[in-house]
Amino acid sequence: MSTPPLLHVENLGIHFGSPADPVKAVDGISFEMQTGETLAVVGESGSGKSVTALALTRLLATPPARIVSGKIEFEGRDVLQLPDSSLRSLRGKQIAYIFQEPSSSLNPVFTIGYQIREAIELHRPEVDDVKREIIRALDTVGIREPAKRLDDYPHQLSGGMQQRVMIAMALACQPKLLVADEPTTALDVTIQKQIIDLLKELKQTSNMAILLITHNFGLVSDFADRVAVMFRGKIVETGPTAEVLRNPQHLYTRALIECVPKLGQKQHRLKVIDYAGIK
């Protein structure tokens, strides 16, 4: 296949702390994403998945964090070497983010209409009727009466609606890659399903690639094309979702899959991962 990958990460290493005794949050990982593909990165807290996601557009605060090795190539260009101006046009326009806590990720003193407008005016200056675009974006994510919602402040919306607004804001610039960092973790289960369904819908209507970061293997099947499992800074297994779920190779993957409670099956105890047994 001669089409270059959308995203090519090679031997990425990110350390925290003193150089003498660093905490290796990301320890030499490599993965790829194709255009329009959905990749799920699964792992527990501290496995380095969020750090990886933030590193993709150099959103990590580099005093405490240090990118010590590797390259991140988006459409052939190494993000780690980009000058600031190119980086800024990458952010939001090519790669957009949605974060875990929608209530604190939206600026509380600006209306949601304003915040979406900001994104559109920044990256799509050719748009004439910005207001119509905003309403369209809000409508796409399933917000009712979007014209009225324009002047609402984030705190006036429920958690689920706030996350939809974030998705709308991310989509308003028609990015090629959407990075979703645990987008449903802070929401309750019924809303979780709604958001994931929304993302599935968006996946079908646009050719947008989605990088889903999660610790919940249950979200992955039926949504992601491929899955990569991260453990303590390394990718221990990767492959098409159906394959990995059916036939997990690595001990950790197996343990993670078993952690998901199965509907209908009687369980006396939740599965706990035995770390000592994993390398």
């Binding site: 600026n107 509380p108 600006f110 994104a119």
Partner: protein, 328 residues
């Protein structure tokens, strides 16, 4: 919104009553005043004339039970009648009104100036946290905060005004002696020159504390999630900080002026007496020396009411500026 303001104003009433009651009780409890009723009564060693005594008894209702006297007194205050000065028999209200502009211009300038200077300082210190610039700003600010206003005034006078060293700025008064002979523009400039040192003395302490609060608030805000979102959207760093972060960080800072105002009023007494400025602070100082009770009490009530109003303004401003606060 208007209902909120009206409601807040109504809530002021009990506090106003409290203030006036407190002041009134102070008056009644003062030994000098009580003695007056018995026909005696000194005024710092000076015997009072019969008509002074009568006027005072009438003003404070010393011959009536306290609740009636209090009602009378409050009524008079509402009519802006604060009695007559013991010193020169002029209406206290008139004397205050004469002196008010000078004090307000100096205190107002000091407040505005301290905000204008402190906010950038605080923001810079927060942005360069831990680096040499931040540390030096913090250190200088710390020293400023610890210098008493009268020490600063004396040192400034010593080195910058009059005296044997530099003779850049005038030492006394609000305008030069020959001010009436000057044209409008030279007179204005003369005024400004006279105001520079007093304003500096009133500004630096507020500057220090506001800049520290700004730094803390800015640091807190910069760590919040929405700043990361703004960056992830691709906004230039300048806009992330000035539009998204600063707007949030300033919310608590805006309302600090209400806390600074009482300090400024207290400071005005000292500064105006050092620089011999014809303001309210100096009026208070003279009244205290002379023991001119009507003036003392009048200014006290006025100062307390002004402070109360500034708290009200701060509350309303807070609601206007922070959309999360509802009008409840």
């Amino acid at each position: 919104m208007t209902t909120y303001i009206i409601r807040r104003i109504l809530l002021l009433v009990p506090t106003l009553i409290g203030i006036t009651l407190f002041t009134f009780l102070l008056i009644r409890l003062a030994p000098g005043n009580a003695a007056m009723l018995k026909g005696g009564g000194e005024n710092g060693g000076r015997a009072m004339t019969a008509e002074q005594r009568l006027a005072t008894i009438k003003l404070y209702g010393l011959d009536k039970p306290w609740y009636i006297a209090y009602g009378d007194w409050v009524g008079r205050i509402c009519r802006l009648d604060l009695g007559e000065s013991w010193k020169d028999h002029r209406s206290v209200t008139t004397k205050i009104r004469e002196r008010l502009p000078v004090t307000m211009s100096i205190a107002g300038t000091a407040l505005v100036l301290s905000y204008l200077l402190a906010i950038p300082l605080g923001v810079i210190a927060a942005l360069k946290r831990g680096q040499a610039l931040d540390r030096s700003i913090s250190f200088v600010v710390f020293i400023l905060y610890s210098i008493p206003s009268f020490v600063a005034a004396l040192l400034l006078i010593l080195f910058v005004a009059g005296g044997d060293y530099l003779n850049l700025l005038p030492m006394y008064g609000i305008q030069s002696i020959n001010a009436s002979e000057m044209g409008t523009l030279p007179r204005l400039w003369d005024r400004i020159l006279h105001m520079i040192l007093p304003v500096i003395c009133l500004t630096y302490a507020s500057l220090a504390s506001i800049s520290r609060y700004t730094r803390v608030s800015m640091l807190e805000t910069l760590g919040q999630d929405f700043v990361r979102t703004a960056r992830a959207k691709g906004l230039p760093e300048r806009l992330v900080i000035l539009r998204h972060a600063l707007r949030n960080a300033l919310i608590p800072i805006i309302t600090i002026f209400a806390l600074e105002l009482p300090v400024l009023i207290g400071g005005a007494i000292i500064i105006e007496s050092i620089f011999t400025l014809p303001g309210m602070g100096n009026l208070m100082f003279e009244a205290l020396e002379y023991r001119d009770n009507p003036v003392i009490m009048g200014i006290t009530v006025l100062a307390a009411c002004v402070t109360l109003l500034s708290y009200l303004a701060a509350d309303i401003l807070y609601v206007v500026v922070d959309p999360r606060i509802s009008y409840e």
